[in-house]
Symmetry: C2
Amino acid sequence: MKILDIGEVSQKAKIPASTLRYYEEIGLISSIGRHGLRRQFAPDVLLQLALISMGKSAGFSLKEISGMFGRDGKPDLPREELQDRADDLDRQIRELSALRDTLRHVADCPAPSHLECPTFRRLVGIMGKRGAKKADLRVLNVT
Amino acid sequence: MKILDIGEVSQKAKIPASTLRYYEEIGLISSIGRHGLRRQFAPDVLLQLALISMGKSAGFSLKEISGMFGRDGKPDLPREELQDRADDLDRQIRELSALRDTLRHVADCPAPSHLECPTFRRLVGIMGKRGAKKADLRVLNVT
DNA sequence: GCTTGACCTCAAGTTGACTTGAATTCGTAG
DNA sequence: CTACGAATTCAAGTCAACTTGAGGTCAAGC
């Protein structure tokens, strides 16, 4: 179990040291000791940081992320809540797929205004799956 | 083509009027006139707002979104750039899928610390597709 | 033993995306 | 004609997630 100091973590995870300090400050990750002043981390922190990165790219706040795989990789949340999050992600994945297809269509379609193009409208329409459950509120930023 | 005033747009899109004003201010959408003081919008604005919502949930900034489907639904960006964005989305969709699977696994797996669970590590490992192209930088927040 | 470079702390600053509040202006219903 | 409610402007405030800067500390190499 090789111990990493903050510089190595920063380099391997491509995250500035200041951010790692900040993450520790808010309890998202934790250092395992010091070498002089230097923070030392267990190698697992790299895995945690990967999770954090994914969580962020899914639009979760750092607070939510720390609830999902807290300080030591154990979730604070009940199973049901975790399944709800997963369901959110399914919805979001469908949306992103529609967005991706829309983007590719826009890149190819010669129509002058896409708002008039039926293909475009159909693609965007995929978003139109209504039914605002609690889950959607986060996604739609309706708080 | 029925014209909508800001209240209707706000209600149908579930977006506060203040936000709509803000979006107009930054040139993301545009109103088509006034009725007294009240802003009026073309119905297409609802489609645009759906796109904006998707773009946001994909992690794009409002500035990027307005580059993709600017003020009247026409992209400012060259095709190549749009395809790059779509590629980003593909990557992100893969990540979100991994995250979703990880979440479901965490909800089910009885292991005390997930960092020790091989299934967990494999799932998170999907993220490990390295090769930091310009595109990844945004996703990874390495600017 | 001294220098150097990477790290430290702590407070303050930044950015993006909105929201809030006070004072004002319409248009419609009564 | 007046009251009402829904919108308006504009400046200022908020929040999350970091970043920056000044001034200090340490351990490893020469």
